[in-house]
């Protein structure tokens, strides 16, 4: 479709874009085009087909189902962290008691690990965070420089366009002026011709 219409606008020399209604008309055209446009070809053909559940695990599937059914999330049970005694009915059950004591050991070990982790963090946390901040800063700097580069490129492209168009613009204007002059000249000649013809016709009549 793009081949049919040749866009030959030269915005740096053409005038009339600023006039009222032009912009609206252009926007209308764009809208109409978008409404009419039907993608007939699958432009993602070269890519493999989508695998939507490639990263889905059982837990995730379960959660998605829950969200679909609009059920609230299950609250984390904090019960075992309180080192509970066995339930009331099993106060005399040695197995239950052993279980509880084992749980308490497990939790103690967990707590110990937590403290170890915290101590590690207190030893190395500052340095690590410092490094992290520095790294992000570096990223930010890189991003800024690349953004500046892009801006510069955009400007250069626009400069090039403008200079080319300005050069061409003079020539176009000259041609246009010439054309206008020729047209009006032709018109005058035509009129003069008509006048002459009339005169010729009159003289013929006189002669006859």
């Amino acid at each position: 479709m793009a081949d049919e219409v040749v866009v030959d606008a030269l915005p740096y020399i053409d005038q009339g874009y600023e006039e009222q209604g032009v912009r609206e008309a252009a926007l209308l055209m764009v809208e109409e085009e978008t409404r009419r446009f039907r993608p007939t070809k699958n432009y993602l053909e070269h890519l493999p087909p989508l695998k939507l559940n490639a990263f889905e695990t059982d837990a995730m599937r379960h959660e998605f189902e829950r969200i679909q059914q609009r059920l609230p999330m299950e609250l984390l049970s904090m019960k075992r962290y309180e080192l509970p005694a066995p339930p009331h009915g099993r106060m005399t059950d040695i197995a239950a008691w052993t279980e509880c004591v084992d749980n308490s050991y497990a939790q103690l070990q967990h707590q110990l690990t937590r403290i170890n982790n915290l101590e590690l963090l207190s030893d190395y946390g500052c340095e690590i965070w410092k490094n992290e901040v520095q790294m992000i800063m570096q990223y930010v700097n890189e991003a800024q420089t690349s953004l500046q580069n892009l801006r510069k490129q955009i400007q250069e492209v626009n400069w090039a366009r403008k200079s080319v168009q300005m050069q061409v613009g003079d020539k176009l204007k000259e041609l246009e002026a010439k054309w206008v002059a020729l047209v009006s000249k032709n018109y005058e000649i035509e009129q003069a011709c008509a006048q002459l013809q009339q005169d010729v016709r009159d003289s013929h009549r006189l002669a006859s």
């Binding site: 040749v6 030959d8 008691w97 308490s104 930010v140 892009l150 955009i154 626009n158 020539k171 041609l175």
Partner: protein
């Protein structure tokens, strides 16, 4: 005889303003001076006006309910003591009294139910007995002559910041200064011209303070001429000595002082929130940095080279006296080695810093039954005895924390049962014997090499069998205990673990809090930066799209330009052709016309 004027009456606005300005100038002590500015008011009245109404610290707002309650309460507690009450309530005494009376009136009115007007409202013809506590009356538009006069006079007096005397003094001072400077200048010029003048204008009157001491009184000559005395400045000054200086500080006082110092120190530490671990072990506050020496100018290799080259030249080094430092060091090393050897000879328990019992209670069988015992039993007894000895010895030489026995008890025991010290060879021999025995047992029981897994399994099984009985305070075998005992033991264990848990949780929470303070700054910074980075990425994406769009446009335009030029040129050419045709036609017509007219 002049008219007797009784001062007083309602306060005017001008009077209030004058009074305020006057207080600003003269302060709150010279009321008669202030009153001289206001000829309608006496000093007492001025003072009353200030302290009852004008003082900016007086509260003139409506009485609040709390204040009313307080007032009624205080009035009951301290009847008629309005000055005292006023300081408590924070209003003036007159305000308190008046409010109290209004409150009483209201109460009475309520009781009697009569709706008569306020009894303390002034009736026409009455004169306000204390106008000082009422708001000022506004000034009339046309003030009296004398009032205007008073105002202008007060303005003049208050505006005058210096008295006559102060003015005169200032002028005199200035003149004096000018005269002095002139004299100085004159003398300097004379000196520059080489004329030396002496300060001739010696003071005739008064005292020259540079020469004499005014009103000097010479001390009376005593019995003993002290002019020849020589005083040693470092000799003890017995006049100033007190008993305390001779005795030195009392021990009790010293102790008290030290204690106070300690308390202060603890307090400071607590205030600084130093962790308790820092209080207990005395680490140096500042870590010493590594000693950094400059690089040697001649490397080892260079020296080696020099040595190899200059081998034939023998350097004679005189045998030096051994350095005292070396001797000391050697001695120290020797001591250290001895200590290490000593430590090697100690029991394995001490060497490996294993936990030791706080109490030594191993029952030895009575020695009476010796004859009945088998050899192995006897050997066991001997081993036990040796063990007890070692326990005592160890406890004496490297203390057990929370030891229940005192050092003297250990010593007593060791005195009775002397601890034998064996030589290293003997120990080696014993160890070898033990090893041999172990090998034999291993072989006899066909243990072979036990893998770690098997070993730990057996160990865990054994450990499971160990059961603590809290009620009896001892350990036993799990298989021997009753169910109730086992339950009890488990419960105790759980309880203990809970306690541990609580302690650990507290510690962890503390750590977390500290870390939060420590790291939150970095976190917020990182967060901000990440946000900024994301924004930048967005912008980059936008800019990339923009760039590609403009490039596309450029390409389009490159195509469009020649086309447009071509089209226009075509148009122009067509018009030119047409012009040619038209010209031709014109010429033809012209010809025709000429032919026709001819």
């Amino acid at each position: 005889m002049g008219r007797v004027m009784i001062k007083g009456g309602v306060w005017r606005n001008t009077e209030d303003e004058i009074l305020k300005a006057a207080v600003m100038k003269y302060g709150k002590n010279q009321w008669s001076r202030i009153a001289s500015l206001l000829h309608r008011k006496s000093a007492k009245q001025c003072k009353a006006r200030w302290f009852e109404w004008l003082d900016p610290s007086i509260k003139k707002t409506e009485w609040s309910r709390e204040e009313d309650e307080k007032l009624l309460h205080m009035a009951k507690l301290m009847p008629t003591q309005w000055r005292t009450i006023s300081t408590i309530i924070g209003r003036t005494a007159a305000q308190c009294l008046e409010r109290y009376e209004t409150l009483l009136d209201q109460a009475q009115k309520k009781e009697e139910g009569d709706t008569g007007d306020d009894p303390r409202k002034l009736k026409p013809g009455e004169i306000d007995p204390n106008p000082e506590t009422k708001p000022a009356r506004p000034d009339p538009k046309d003030m009296d002559e004398d009032e205007l006069e008073m105002l202008s006079e007060a303005r003049a007096r208050l505006a005058n910041t210096q008295g006559k005397k102060a003015k005169r003094k200032a002028r005199e001072k200035q003149l004096e200064e000018a005269r002095r400077l002139a004299a100085l200048q004159k003398r300097r010029e004379l000196r520059a011209a080489g004329i030396q003048t002496f300060n001739r204008n010696r003071r005739k009157r008064g005292i020259d303070y540079n020469r004499e001491i005014p009103f000097e009184k010479k001390p009376q000559p005593g019995f003993y001429d002290t002019s020849e005395d020589v005083i040693d400045p470092f000799a003890p000054d017995f006049k100033r000595l007190r008993q305390q200086n001779l005795d030195g500080e009392m021990r009790v006082e010293k102790e008290e002082k030290e204690r106070q110092k300690d308390r202060q120190k603890m307090k400071e530490k607590k205030e600084n929130q130093m962790p308790s671990s820092m209080l207990s072990n005395q680490e140096p506050a500042k870590k010493l940095t590594k000693l950094v020496l400059p690089e040697p100018q001649i490397s080892d290799q260079d020296i080696q080279q020099v040595l190899t080259v200059e081998k034939p030249v023998e350097v004679i080094i005189e045998p030096m006296e051994p350095d005292q430092e070396d001797i000391d060091r050697r001695k120290k090393e020797e001591e250290k080695r001895n200590q290490e050897l000593e430590f090697r000879r100690r029991s394995q328990v001490v060497q490996r810093t294993l936990p030791r019992p706080t109490d030594i209670t191993i029952a030895l069988r009575s020695s009476k039954s010796d004859s009945n015992m088998s050899d192995s039993q006897k050997a066991e007894e001997l081993i036990k005895e040796e063990m007890i000895k070692m326990l005592h010895y160890d406890a004496l030489h490297s203390a057990v924390p929370n030891d229940k026995l005192s050092a003297t008890q250990h010593k007593n025991y060791l005195d009775k049962h002397p601890f034998e010290i064996f030589t290293d060879e003997e120990m080696e021999h014993a160890k070898e014997l033990l090893k041999k025995e172990m090998d034999i047992v291993k072989e006899g029981m066909s243990h072979g090499a036990i893998s770690l897994d098997v070993y730990s399994q057996v160990w865990e099984e054994c450990l499971d069998q160990v059961l603590f009985l809290p009620s009896q305070g001892r350990y036993t075998r799990a298989s021997l205990a009753s169910k109730k005992e086992r339950l009890e033991s488990l419960e105790k264990e759980l309880e203990q673990n809970r306690n541990h848990m609580a302690r650990e949780a507290k510690k962890a929470a503390k750590l977390e809090k500290r870390l939060k303070i420590l790291l939150s700054g970095y976190q917020t910074k990182a967060h901000q930066l990440t946000k900024q980075y994301n924004e930048l990425l967005n912008e980059i994406e936008k800019a990339t799209i923009e760039l590609s769009t403009f490039k596309h446009l450029q390409k389009q335009e490159e195509l469009a330009i020649p086309r447009r030029i071509q089209a226009l040129e075509d148009d122009v050419r067509r018009q030119m052709e047409r012009e040619g045709q038209l010209q031709k036609r014109y010429a033809e017509l012209k010809l025709q016309l000429q032919e026709g007219s001819m």
